[in-house]
Symmetry: C2
Subunit: 524 residues, 2 copies
């Protein structure tokens, strides 16, 4: 009740009048550091009334009839979520621990367990003793639940008979299966060269997929106009209408938790969106999605200093790197429209964890597939040779993601034409997918003997050392951003063809010196 | 008002009865995506009443007298923070933009500016026109503020005459200066070998410093008993008492913002604490502290899977790495008591940004300073040679931080004694401080020619490639943790002397093969 996320989630639950939701608040007045009143004296029930909830009090949490009555009243209230404040004592009956914070974080210990059993009128020498009547109640509950489940299955079977197509769709969705041909629209979409932001390409993908993928629902934390996540004909989910666009309000952490809940429930494929820099607000929910293997999709736009004038508070620097560190999160930063389409395809194919799509605000050229690697499908292997060195034997490899890929291609052109350096460009949109490839493929893309490597990405440099090695270099940003038009900011931070070429030449120079030094050392 | 952090901060402000705080809520019913009622229909005023605030309404934000009266009433209310809900129209007077979301994120544009000037009765052809009467009001306000400042300075001078010592202390504190001898207690503290957790050592440091450092205040987000952050004789800050221990409740994000506010105000040196894994909850505040160069100290304990049974939700994996990526944040992970003392010294010396102290739950041995590097003061250079290779010419370097340093020392012993491999151990508690050293020192600690390197740290491996290079290795954890006693978890994840030795031998083996291959290639 103190954590901000409860406020975010409860406010939106009240707004959406989620009448099926009941929250039992075990108000035992104890936290780890002592009684709650050392930090928490607000009127929680009144706060929930302010959120528009149906609020009830149960004065004694041991009054089971009162709880049952309150719960029934909550179930009977269809228009508002229900909040039941149960006034309770922690460690009830434990003569020395009851009502104290020591009962919160530690086991009672043998003596106190004995004393508690005596208070309950149980034999303190009996272990694993189930009191009389409990097994019978338990069995009765099992039988009732079995009847309820059988009844539900009977209704589902009847529905399947009456509406076989809809029932099959429902069951496939619950099983997490995607309908046949769900991504048929993607192949041709975005193929035509066009200068546009990857967030804009993402918008086209969402709207191309939506008709064939009824389980796709999602939205933004009050940035739909910027993240470009609206399903155009999807309608909004409101208190009275069932639509596919979710309006989360300015509640990123709650948004992350809500999409986790939708994914855990099943039957839907939820996505959510905000600026990449605000992924920090939802990081605990992203970690839980990864830990719980929930197939949530994040559309995080405005992915570098290239967003421009909003300045350092809005410009992500460390975010790409810090997200790549979360286990089981796939982070994909596509370079153009076709890679964006493949990124969504990869995200939706995934069933065992979340995927972050990291998208540009600024326009990017479409990579010329007649000149470079013919298909963006290389994205599914995480990294792929986008432009081979002339002669096929690279002396230098340029690695890049997203909005820096076209810059790597421009630098390659210069290095090949005017410096006569055979240079390969590797597009590396998803490190996690690349790491999942076998060593043979990885060595094919990044041959171990080609140690002159330069990475180009508008974010922290530190993680790239893994790929560029000791002799390589990174064109990146290791300070906070700056307020300027996006193009200017990128230029000032060194994302220019001239700088990339210069840095590439420096890498080659250092490599030559280092190899000569090694040769001397090894021969000596 | 939607973001969870406002709930956290407002709840604690009400609890502490911060009567000097007034919040003007410009309730214009507009967010970026449209009217607030698409996502936000709660009764905000009632929510603030529930927090214990003094709540007022101003029905028309253009009624300046009503605002002034409400503000005066807020100032006159000493017992409760005040909330003034101003009902306003965004872009007031702009005939087409008023009351719409398009006025939120974009400039009005020339036509609408002209039209607005006409509504205001101004000449639409005049630019930078200051309406009559405004300069006079402005000048009057400047004069009034100058008088107020002069009066304050007069009172301060009078105070300095009456209480020269206290006045000097006050002014030094406001200037961010630490009193002479503030850290005199640290040198002997913790020197005696003792097996204890670094969080426990941190507790001793806090309490040794507190008497000489009256500006040191802080606390935990309901984990004081675990973070060990209480200033023993400091008293609590409550609604009625001025103490030095801040009880933040379970509100990590709000805690980060509050400590930022205290540091920005000046006069105090605030610290705050939670488990390292929950640094995710406060990450946006940590980023702002770094961006705003605020000297906040974070005491983040339970810093690895070594915390044990709470399991993956509580075991940090990616946190150390993702914090190291935040620009201007110093992350220090001390290895024993003396390094913990130096870590606090470094954190409090710092005036241009925050410092994270990353502390163990589990007990660690004190490094034997008669056998290894004589002083923990090497910490101030970020990394230092803790144990030199026999003969002084290492073939292998083991790098480690915090709770893995003693393990590196044990492995060194084995490698030197039984494998006859000259092995250096580098303690590397703070990468940011090490990166700030000159190249000469860095090459002294990590000689470029010694490429056989193994890092040992109970967290993500990825960032370590920067230090161990292409030929090196990392003993770390790249998956979520597991619920087990801390010692068992560490063993299962490979943090054993045997595994570190084996991995070190593998690194040496790979290096020999690689060098032979290079020699062949280079000679060919």
């Amino acid at each position: 009740m103190m954590e901000g996320i409860t406020g975010e989630a409860s406010s939106i639950a009240g707004h959406l009048r989620l009448g099926k939701l009941t929250l039992l608040y075990d108000d035992n007045h104890i936290t780890i550091d002592g009684p709650t009143n050392i930090t928490f004296t607000e009127d929680v029930a009144k706060r929930y009334e302010a959120y528009g909830w149906h609020v009830q009090q149960v004065e004694d949490a041991n009054d089971l009839e009162a709880i049952a009555a309150a719960y029934q009243a909550a179930v009977d209230e269809p228009e508002r979520p229900s909040f039941i404040q149960l006034h309770s004592l922690i460690a009830w009956g434990a003569p020395n621990a009851q009502g104290t914070s020591k009962a919160h974080g530690a086991a009672l210990g043998e003596d106190e367990v004995r004393a508690t059993k005596e208070v309950y009128g149980w034999n303190p020498d009996k272990h694993f003793k189930v009191p009389d009547g409990v097994p019978e109640r338990w069995q009765a509950r099992v039988a009732a639940n079995q009847r309820a489940r059988a009844e539900w299955q009977r209704r589902l079977a009847a529905y399947a008979e009456a509406e076989p197509a809809l029932a099959a769709e429902f069951q496939a969705a619950l099983a997490g299966e995607l309908p046949a041909g769900w991504d048929a629209e993607l192949d041709k979409l975005l193929a035509e060269p066009k200068k546009q932001a990857t967030r804009k390409a993402s918008q086209q993908v969402i709207n191309a997929l939506a008709p064939n993928l009824p389980m796709l629902v999602g939205g933004s934390a009050d940035l739909a106009e910027s993240n470009l996540t609206d399903i155009v004909a999807g309608g909004d989910l409101t208190a009275t209408e069932v639509g596919r666009n979710l309006r989360f309000g300015i509640r990123e952490h709650g948004m992350g938790a809500i999409t986790n809940g939708l994914a855990a429930h099943g039957g839907l494929r939820p996505f959510c969106a905000t600026f990449l820099v605000f992924s920090d607000y939802m990081r605990p929910s992203v970690r839980l999605a990864s830990l719980m293997e929930l197939p949530v999709v994040y559309a995080w736009t405005h992915d570098s200093v290239g967003l421009g004038g909003d300045g350092p508070t809005h410009q992500p620097i460390e975010h790409l790197g810090s997200l790549r560190l979360i286990p089981n999160l796939h982070v994909i930063r596509p370079a153009d429209g076709p890679e964006t389409a493949e990124a969504w395809r990869a995200a939706l194919r995934r069933v065992d964890g979340p995927t972050a799509l990291v998208l540009s605000r600024q326009e990017l050229p479409t990579i010329d597939r007649t000149r470079y690697a013919s298909a963006a499908a290389g994205l599914h292997r995480g990294a792929y040779v986008l432009a081979e060195a002339s002669g096929g034997e690279p002396e230098l490899i340029l690695l890049a993601t997203g909005s820096e890929v076209w810059l790597a291609l421009a630098a390659q052109d210069e290095l090949e034409r005017h410096q006569e350096i055979p240079t390969r460009v590797v597009s590396m949109p998803c490190w996690e997918l690349f790491e999942a490839q076998d060593q043979g493929y990885r060595d094919q893309v990044l041959p171990p003997q080609v140690t002159a490597r330069l990475a180009v990405e508008a974010g922290s440099t530190a993680l790239w050392h893994k790929w560029v090695g000791t002799l390589g270099g990174v064109v990146g940003i290791d300070r906070f951003g700056a307020s300027a038009p996006g193009g200017t900011a990128l230029i000032k931070f060194g994302f220019t063809e001239v700088n990339v070429v210069e840095r590439a030449l420096a890498v080659l120079h250092r490599e030559h010196i280092e190899k000569a030094r090694m040769l001397r050392n090894l021969s000596a």
